[in-house]
């Protein structure tokens, strides 16, 4: 079990149901091999610092995740292929920061 942070930018044209679909798919993929999405932080619509695909804003969501690394390949593959996802980034959190956020405490990894 390791702590990760995932940020996803969904296209601003996608409706709430579409965003939810992406989020639940992420949850499924993380749960596949015994991982857990500990926290979901929906930033909502946010203006880009520069235009992406001629759009000026996107829907941001940040996930705090505790999962074995075996889930990440599938997750990354899904995010790269999903048309609604403009960009995504998976960051491995350093242990000290994971502890501060209490990411691994419940999982007893």
């Amino acid at each position: 079990m390791r702590a990760y942070e995932l940020m996803v930018i969904v296209d601003a044209d996608v409706d709430d149901a579409g965003v939810k679909a992406v989020n639940s798919r992420i949850g499924e993929l993380i749960a596949a091999d015994g991982g857990e999405v500990v926290k979901t932080d929906a930033w909502g619509r946010r203006r880009y610092a520069y235009p992406i695909k001629h759009k000026l804003e996107g829907i941001y969501t940040v996930f705090d995740i505790a999962t074995p690394a075996s889930n990440l390949d599938e997750l990354d593959r899904f995010l790269r292929l999903a048309d609604d996802v403009v960009r995504h980034k998976i960051i491995r959190l350093p242990d000290s920061e994971a502890e501060r956020r209490g990411l691994l405490g419940t999982a007893a990894g």
């Binding site: 930018i9 610092a49 520069y50 992406i52 996107g58 960009r87």
Partner: protein
């Protein structure tokens, strides 16, 4: 008596300044979060360039973390890669700011064609001729 040179004195002699302290130290930041746009912006110039260590006061570890965080934030469009700065004309003293960035110089005014006044030109040739006569 030999002048004593303490380590402190030598440090201060380094271009006569106080050692800069990074805001990471003053605000006790333990983890440079790439999502913290307001923190990261303080390590960028107004042209969105990453500030040099000598400007920001970071040590090498801090500088590496800050640079990494800014680059991550840029990929997610939280921070710009560039941002255009409009320069005002007639203030050449602001050509360079504290991070030593080059600004485009305001265009120089072209000197117009020099106009001769015909009367002055005539007197000048007369004087020249007079000088020649004296010489011969």
């Amino acid at each position: 008596m030999k002048p004593k040179r303490s380590s402190k004195g030598r440090d201060a002699a380094r271009r006569g300044g106080k050692k800069k302290v990074s805001v990471l130290n003053t605000e006790q930041v333990e983890y440079v979060d790439w999502k913290d746009v307001n923190l990261l912006r303080r390590f960028m110039s107004d042209r969105a360039k990453i500030r040099a260590r000598r400007v920001s006061g970071n040590d090498s570890q801090q500088q590496r973390e800050v640079a990494r965080a800014i680059k991550n934030a840029r990929e997610m469009a939280l921070l710009p890669y560039t941002s255009r700065v409009t320069t005002q004309r007639g203030r050449p003293s602001r050509d360079r700011d504290d991070d030593g960035e080059r600004r485009p110089r305001p265009p120089r005014e072209e000197p117009g064609p020099i106009e001769f006044e015909p009367i002055e030109a005539e007197t000048a040739t007369e004087q020249a001729e007079g000088a020649e006569e004296v010489a011969s």
